[in-house]
């Protein structure tokens, strides 16, 4: 029935090679792996290899594989903590074997036929989650196992510890950068872009002139105006908001103008047969039809706004803000703090985007791309 998967075969080879080269690690300071732990890891991995090729009950097999591989991985990664740099080749071989088996697990899960809708959604979620988790496991195992200098790449766990211990600072930076600069700049920039687009729509000459300019400016490194804005508006958040305004203005302008042209001829003729005036046609037909374009700009701008505010802070701030923190902590070689700040930026960015996307789904529910037609 099922042919041997290469991940499983390679994992078996690595397991055996790893077993031949024990122990897993030399003691650096703490006690490394006990015999029991080592044996458990080997056994769990070998059992996983067996289960992954045996083709027994797919769901049960996947669950066993999931538990076994992750217990083995966490034993490996947990045991190396305190012995940074002490790992020997066999540690990496076993870690690689566990990773291959996790890969195999992902293949198996992707292949499962999910019955219900809920199961399908779970399947769609678990595969990328496992992938992400394994990036962290490998990152942790390699940085600790090989003793990568802390200033180059700190392991995820110490970033997490740093994150948890610096919540007040991170929170203050978030408020300064996101809730002041980004929100203000985003609202003003998108609002201005929208209003100018409506104006340009009203005056064809303006539209013909603005559209090529907007398209060109959208491709320019606008972020470069940051130092000028800092000079004009001072060190505090208004200068960052000004950069965000300029960066978000043009995508909004270009997209809204395109969106306003997007309603069909027939629909416009229809409005004409009702002798509907400009504003009625705008509000009842053209703006709803433009909504997908406008939301596209809002989504692009959510990322641009964060980038603009953070990078603008590299040019000078009061002593708070995400960009300020990143640039000063980099200077002090507190790389774990930098990573914690980047994690905050990533979370803020995806939540910002997610909120816009949710509003979009609610507003443009009728659009084929949203209703899945």
């Amino acid at each position: 029935m099922r042919h041997l998967a290469w991940q499983s075969v390679l994992a078996l080879v690595l397991c055996l090679a790893g077993a031949a080269m024990l122990p897993l690690a030399d003691a650096v300071s703490a006690l490394p792996f006990t015999v029991g732990q080592t044996a458990a890891v080997e056994l769990l991995l070998l059992a996983s290899v067996f289960v992954s090729v045996s083709g027994i009950n797919p769901l049960g097999g996947a669950i066993f594989l999931f538990l076994a591989v992750h217990i083995a991985a966490f034993t490996l990664v947990g045991g190396i903590a305190g012995n940074e740099g002490g790992a020997r080749l066999s540690f990496f071989l076993l870690l690689a074997a566990a990773w291959l088996l996790a890969w195999r697990l992902n293949v198996l899960i992707s292949g499962l036929k999910a019955g219900s809708r809920g199961a399908r959604n779970f399947q769609r979620l678990i595969v990328p989650t496992l992938f992400g988790v394994w990036i962290l496991i490998l990152w942790e195992g390699i940085t600790r196992g090989a003793g990568v200098p802390f200033v180059l790449l700190p392991p995820p766990t110490s970033i997490a510890v740093r994150f948890a211990n610096s919540l007040p600072i991170l929170g203050a930076d978030l408020v300064q950068t996101v809730f002041k600069a980004v929100v203000a700049g985003y609202v003003i920039g998108c609002g201005a872009g929208f209003i100018v687009a409506i104006l340009a729509d009203r005056v064809p000459f303006l539209r013909k002139g603005m559209l090529p300019i907007g398209n060109v400016v959208s491709a320019l490194p606008i972020i470069g105006i940051a130092p000028i804005m800092v000079m004009w508006f001072g060190f505090d958040w208004p200068s960052k908001a000004a950069v965000v305004v300029v960066m978000t203005f043009f995508p909004m302008l270009v997209n809204t103008v395109a969106g306003l042209a997007a309603s069909g001829h027939m629909e416009r003729d229809l409005m004409r047969t009702y002798a509907s005036n400009y504003w009625q046609t705008l509000f009842k037909l053209r703006l709803p039809a433009a909504a997908p374009f406008i939301f596209n700009a809002l989504k692009i701008n959510s990322t641009l706004a964060l980038i603009g505010a953070i990078v603008a802070e590299f040019f000078g701030t009061p002593i708070v803000g995400m960009g300020f923190r990143i640039s000063t902590e980099v200077g002090r070689m507190n790389i774990d703090m930098v990573w914690a700040e980047i994690a905050v930026a990533a979370i803020a960015g995806s939540i910002f985007y997610g909120v816009v996307a949710l509003v979009e789904r609610a507003v443009t529910f009728w659009h084929p791309s949203v209703r899945g037609g």
């Binding site: 180059l152 491709a219 800092v230 980038i307 953070i310 980099v330 790389i335 930026a345 995806s350 997610g354």
Partner: protein, 291 residues
Amino acid sequence: MDSFRDKIVPVSVIVAAILVVWYVAAIFMNAPYQRELNARAHVTPDLGAFIGQTWAQRKPTLPAPHQIAENFFKNTFLVKITSRRSLVYNSWVTLSSTMAGFASGTLLGILIAVGIVHVPVLDRSLMPWIIASQTIPILAIAPMVVVVFAAIGITGLIPKALISTYLSFFPVAVGMVKGLRSPDILHLDLMHTYNASKVQAFWKLRVPASMPFLFTSMKVAVAASLVGAIVAELPTGAVAGIGAKLLAGSYYSQTIDMWSALVAGSVVAVLLVATVGVVGRFVELRMGARP
């Protein structure tokens, strides 16, 4: 002639209007400092002379367009190309890392896209992350990358190019996946009736169909690469490059220098995007698109 009436005239009028507004704004923004200077020097120029003064300051709050143009011209054409002050030199420093990063980012993006389209597990596990990572401000890692690389003795082009690679990789991967998946079911079925192999279907159908998507995303990617290279130059302590010029300008309040560095950056951006556009057009023509 239509493009003349529909594009060139409105664009020139609006650019002219912007210039006028700019000059007027320069008067008002530079006036307070100029008044201070004049008070100190005990001179009271008439209005015309005063306006002339606001357009000729050495470190104006807002330089007048002709000051920027003069500075740009001087630093581009009159200064020796090898000089630190030359905009050509600085642009080249930025451009080289942009292009190195863009080339490797595009290559990486295409390879990953091919993988994603053909390997279901990759699609399921990697694609969500690639899409999600477009929502986060990746550029924030630029200073860290530069400093960490400097710590292990790697400076210059490589860390900058790495950031550009990273930034250009995402749009290309996403666009290329879309493009490789763009052929109709009808055309895929047609290939199926020919009993074409996966490789044949790839080269004869998927690749040609993906070209418009590829070049559209490459335009986005090349602009992102340039931004990445410029921002990567900020923390290196102002050695060379457009970003370094900007930073040096902001240290010493050399506003005119900053503006002309911005102009240089914009020229580079336009050239890069236009080049990608022309290459894209050429490829499409070669593939039989209607002229």
